[in-house]
Symmetry: C2
């Protein structure tokens, strides 16, 4: 049984964290550090964008299976920074290694913020030195590292659970994440700007990559705020084994707990999308293939017309079917069922290819369902058994404001 | 030599038009009719969205090679309207045929407006009867039909040219179009909500389909306002041969003239995208394949982060490379050249994979280039010879406002 607990990134045994102000940003915290007392088995996943930020290039190149620390700066993505950016990313790892007496290969590095500017390494080095001294366990460092990795985020993205593995060991899993704009991650194992760190004191061996990719494909990779995949998306899972569990690579209890954590993080990212006022969950069923189901979810949550309609609680459900039609999926229009859910209301929309409601008073019911902080769109394509679920947010005036003024 | 003239849809010989108020919309003109005195060879192209509006289904089913009239209503898309929608689309054709003494198969039909509501055929029949009586030649009916097909459009989309064909015949080509939101047409010959009608008094035979698709692929199909392809996109080219020209199917003069007309229409649609304050032209060169070049254009013009940055004249050019990386195209980051052009300014951005400008004063130059009604983004991918050009617009507060309140 997975149990959600009040905890953070340092709740699993042996992990410490810190968040400090280095000066890359004007005032807020901008440098976070995570440390494991014993080297942790690391499973990383990186953006599929072909323009990869320097820290992503460096981590993919080194491909370390063991990490003892991760350093993250916000305010500057160290992306599109050429050779100097690569050198700076290495220098960040070396500075952490020197402070914590580690091999630089054991240090993960992530950056997020503005693309196309060089890092001020003087500030970064100062921040690293300070963070290394402040590493600690507890809810205060949990909070500081969460804040330090934020950019346009407005809420902390944190989740912690405990579960008993099949071998009886009690283990903890915790995750923190940031991400609000430039969000449609397609992170690939070994190979989001969501930055996510997951800690666990469970033990992992060498055989977790496929399960990890499958969990990511159903969680992080089903989130889209704006359809723009970042150059920096990175997801690091660190398992330090301090619970003394047997390897949990194939333990269904561990997988279920990690799925829960990652799904919660994914939903939180969508909910806190730039300028968002509503969370949109899209549930597709009855698809011919898994790929079709995912495509329909993505086409709906990425449609500006769907997103603005939900923002305005405008019962323009024709746009949902426009998106289904654009996804390229297989469907049977006469069998398609479309339902909009919000609050206590669950409103069926389509019957035999035409809307159920035609008069204005009935349409008002749809508007009421859409007028909720969380709107669920359910589409049954009527041709198969495959399903997918994904998360996005509405497109608001604030999204435009935030992104028309970001660099300035 | 193609010459742009002050003309409209009835400028080519033998065409008449009308635009009336049928009552589908509350006040504005909402029903347009186009008529050719002699049956015209018709080349049609329709949306690739798999949810096709009733009029699109009907026209694809009939696949008429000859059209004498086209009827268009705005205010209601007759999409997602099941069997009743199909019957209504046929009824529109029949009503026109009865008024003008034609075979219903010679009548094209298009609809645009809200999806998922049944047409009020009483109003439509009244409008058809009135329009048939008002068919006329000249700048006044040109204007009325343009207005009658508009939805959220704010400017008339009209273009007329004359050119001398290789056989010496002077021919006229004219086009009108509507389209402001739900715009990323991928119209396919025989097989956007842009509705476009092109008239010409040139003669066309049976061998123009490939050239027509190629022109559409470089014009209409390179426009995106919001990446949402409509259920209704339709493009009808009517060539009535009244110039007595030889068949112009393979006449380079005719192709050049039609390309010019379609490119102008495409640009106008992008410029008048819902809420748009700026036209964005993206020119991609140095691509490995034509498909790569098109994908880069589309990824850039569809990126909400690029669109909002241009709205705010925010020199966040890193987002352009984020989009290039997401397109999946082949490129050499060290060879990529990125240039932003606006007004008299042409500002190179990248050198060897890193931005040229780092200090704030230099970045100000980029801002000034972006602070123009028309912003051109030039990307040379540095790996080949293929090129593509496309058009979009910025993402503004008004786009959100218009689409959060559309159905209401």
């Amino acid at each position: 049984m997975v149990e959600i607990i009040d905890g953070g990134i340092t709740t699993p045994q042996g992990f410490k964290a810190a968040g400090v102000h280095s000066g890359v940003k004007y005032r807020s915290l901008d440098l976070g550090m995570l440390y494991s007392e014993v080297p942790a088995r690391a499973y990383c996943a990186f953006t599929s964008n072909n323009v990869k930020a320097a820290p992503v290039q460096v981590m993919m190149e080194e491909n370390s299976k063991t990490l003892s620390a991760v350093v993250v700066n916000s305010g500057n993505a160290n992306a599109l920074t050429g050779r100097r950016g690569i050198e700076d990313a290495y220098a960040m790892k070396q500075a952490v290694a020197a402070e914590l007496n580690l091999d630089p290969k054991e240090v993960g590095v992530m950056s997020t913020g503005l693309i196309g500017r060089f890092l001020d390494m003087h500030k970064i080095r100062y921040g690293i030195s300070r963070a290394a001294r402040e590493l600690d366990v507890g809810r205060e460092p949990d909070k500081l590292i969460c804040e330090a990795i934020m950019t346009t985020d407005t809420i902390k993205k944190e989740c912690a659970v405990r579960t008993r593995l099949s071998d009886g060991t009690l283990v903890y899993i915790a995750a923190i994440s940031k991400g609000s704009g430039m969000i449609e991650p397609h992170v690939k194992v070994l190979h989001g700007t969501t930055l996510t760190m997951i800690t666990t004191d469970a033990t992992l061996g060498d055989d977790f990559a496929d399960t990890w990719q499958s969990i990511l494909d159903d969680s992080m990779n089903m989130v889209s705020v704006d359809g723009d995949q970042s150059t920096n998306d990175t997801c690091i899972l660190m398992a330090n084994g301090m619970s003394k569990s047997k390897p949990a690579d194939h333990d269904p209890e561990f997988e279920a707990a990690l799925r829960l954590v990652m799904t919660k993080i994914a939903r939180t990212i969508a909910m806190d999308g730039e300028g968002a006022s509503k969370l949109i969950e899209v549930q597709v069923t009855g698809a011919d293939t898994k790929d079709d189901a995912r495509k329909v979810v993505k086409t709906i949550i990425n449609s500006p017309l769907v997103k603005t309609a939900i923002f305005g609680a405008d019962p323009n459900y024709g746009r949902l079917m426009m998106a289904v039609g654009n996804s390229g999926c297989k469907f049977d229009l006469n069998e398609v069922r479309l339902t909009i859910k919000g609050g206590d209301m669950e409103v069926p929309i389509l019957d035999s290819g035409a809307p159920i409601f035609q008069d204005e008073r009935a349409v008002e019911v749809v508007r009421m369902a859409m007028d909720n902080k969380e709107v669920t769109i359910m589409v049954d394509l009527g041709v198969g058994e495959e399903t997918a679920t994904g998360w996005g947010c509405d497109l608001t005036y604030d999204y435009v404001r935030i992104n028309a003024e970001y660099a300035t």
